[in-house]
Every structure is written in C-alpha cells, then in structure tokens.
Symmetry: C2
Subunit: 157 residues, 2 copies
C-alpha cells in the first residue's frame, strides 16, 4: 500500500493554497475542511481518483463516521482502492485479491510437496543412520568373534 493519505497538509487558511479536494471542487477551503489534512495541494491526482471512484460527498460522509485518529488510514485505503479501480475498471483491487489468493494456493502446494519430501528424506536419514550403526556393530562383532577365535582378543571396537 504505497499510496498515502496521512496528514501532510493542514486545513487551509486564507494565506495558504486550498487543499487538493477544494481546488478540484472549486470551493473555498476553510479551516475545518475535512479533506485538507489528507489531501494536500501537492498531490492533486490522489483526490481526483478518489472523487472519480467514490465521489467527494461519499468520502466526506465516510470520513465523518470514522474517529479522527483512523481517518488517515481510511483515506490511504480509499486512495489505494481508487487508484486500482482507475487502473483496472473491471476488477479494481479485487483483481489484486484474486492474484494474491492464487499466489497463496501455489505457495501452499509447494510447501506441502517440500514438507512431504523432507519427511521422506527424514525417514530415509533415520533408516540410513540405523543401517550404518548396525552395520558397524555387525562387522565389529564379527571382527571380535573372528579375532577371538584366532586367539587375538586384544582388538576391540
């Protein structure tokens, strides 16, 4: 989520330029403008897309219903959605959701296959260790039996 709607500009005074929203809507940007903290005049495209997709009136209503400390995140997510909808008018950011879900399915399949392979190798590894151990023990025992029978009991494993 690259788009940002964090507070970058303050509500406009008579001396400062109007926020991107008020400039686009051609209205006076007052000190209590709900858009000004999130749509600074330096980023006009962000509000343009949000306005095109959600409508300024809807965004205004939605922001009023959200506690002030969550409004920055709400604007960020709306900017993200609006940009996605402008890029892809058919699927919008739902296209990204489908794509991420496909990636998850692929990763889950790869993980299951790799886990099965690791399990298979682990079983083989244990079996091999047992063979090495028992093989060594077998030949060691054989050695002792043979050397004892030939009167050489000094050698041991």
């Amino acid at each position: 989520m690259k788009e940002s709607g964090k507070k970058e500009g303050a509500a406009s005074s008579s001396s400062s330029p109007p926020c991107a929203a008020c400039r686009l809507l051609r209205r006076k940007c007052t000190h209590d403008c709900v858009f000004a903290p999130y749509f600074p005049p330096t980023q006009p495209h962000e509000f343009a897309n949000v306005h095109k997709v959600f409508g300024a009136s809807n965004v205004n209503k939605m922001l009023q219903e959200i506690p002030e400390h969550h409004r920055g995140d709400a604007v960020s997510s709306m900017v993200y959605e609006a940009n996605a909808r402008v890029r892809d008018p058919v699927y919008g950011c739902v296209g990204a959701i489908s794509s991420l879900q496909q990636q998850i399915n692929i990763l889950q399949t790869q993980l299951v296959i790799t886990q099965a392979e690791a399990m298979h190798l682990r079983v083989h590894h244990t079996a091999s260790s047992n063979i090495i151990e028992s093989q060594a023990k077998y030949f060691c025992d054989m050695d002792m039996v043979e050397h004892t029978s030939y009167g050489d009991s000094m050698r041991s494993c």
Copy 2:
C-alpha cells in the same frame, strides 16, 4: 469473491418489479436501465452498499465506460469492495490485501525453511549412502584380507 453481480434480472418492464437500484433511488425502471441486469429486486442490500460507498451516479458512469460483456464482473467486484468497506470502514478490502500479503510472507518463510531442511537432509542422505557403501566395502575388503591371510580365500563379497 462470493458476491455476484451477474445477470439475474432483466431490465424491468411495466409489469415486472423495478430493479433494486431503481427501487432504492425511487425512480422508474425503464427497459434500458443500466442497473437492472446486475441488481435484481431480490438482492436489495447489494445495491444499497454499492450506492453508499460508490454512489449510484459514479457506478452508472463506470458501467457506461466498460464494454457490456465485462459489466457483470465489474459489478461483482464493486459489490465485493462495497461490502468490505461497509464491514470495515477504515481499511475496506485493502485490509484483506494486507492480510493476504502477510499470509504470503509467512508461507514464503516456511517454504524457505523447509527447502533448506530438505536440502540439508538430501546432503546427509547422500553422505549416509556413501558411508554405508564404503563401510560395507571396507569391512568386505578387511574380511577378504583377513580370511586370505588365514588361508580361507573362498569367502568373497
């Protein structure tokens, strides 16, 4: 994506009930209503959320700009986004995107760890096979040397 905006109702005639959009907007549903094919009267909540989030006018404009054979998918994705925004006014469906991205990060980490484990086991497996082989060969050779020195050259591996 469970929400569906596929064609389920046809444009309303004078005898059939108005589509969910025209009913909510309290207007006459004509035979060329752009909403009627995608917002049947049986699913009023879908249009209510789309209207609340995007605004009927914006949806109308967006649908007009999309080829007719893509409009069903466009409505489906807008219904999905609108429902997500109503459920979560701060993050909307961007919350789902963040959650999916986190799942992808977790799966990628698990996959890298499991792949490394499998690689480690594969190397050990090959080393163990070589040990078993060389151990067997060593003891077999020792056997032959010893048995030959004791005059028993009949035993071989």
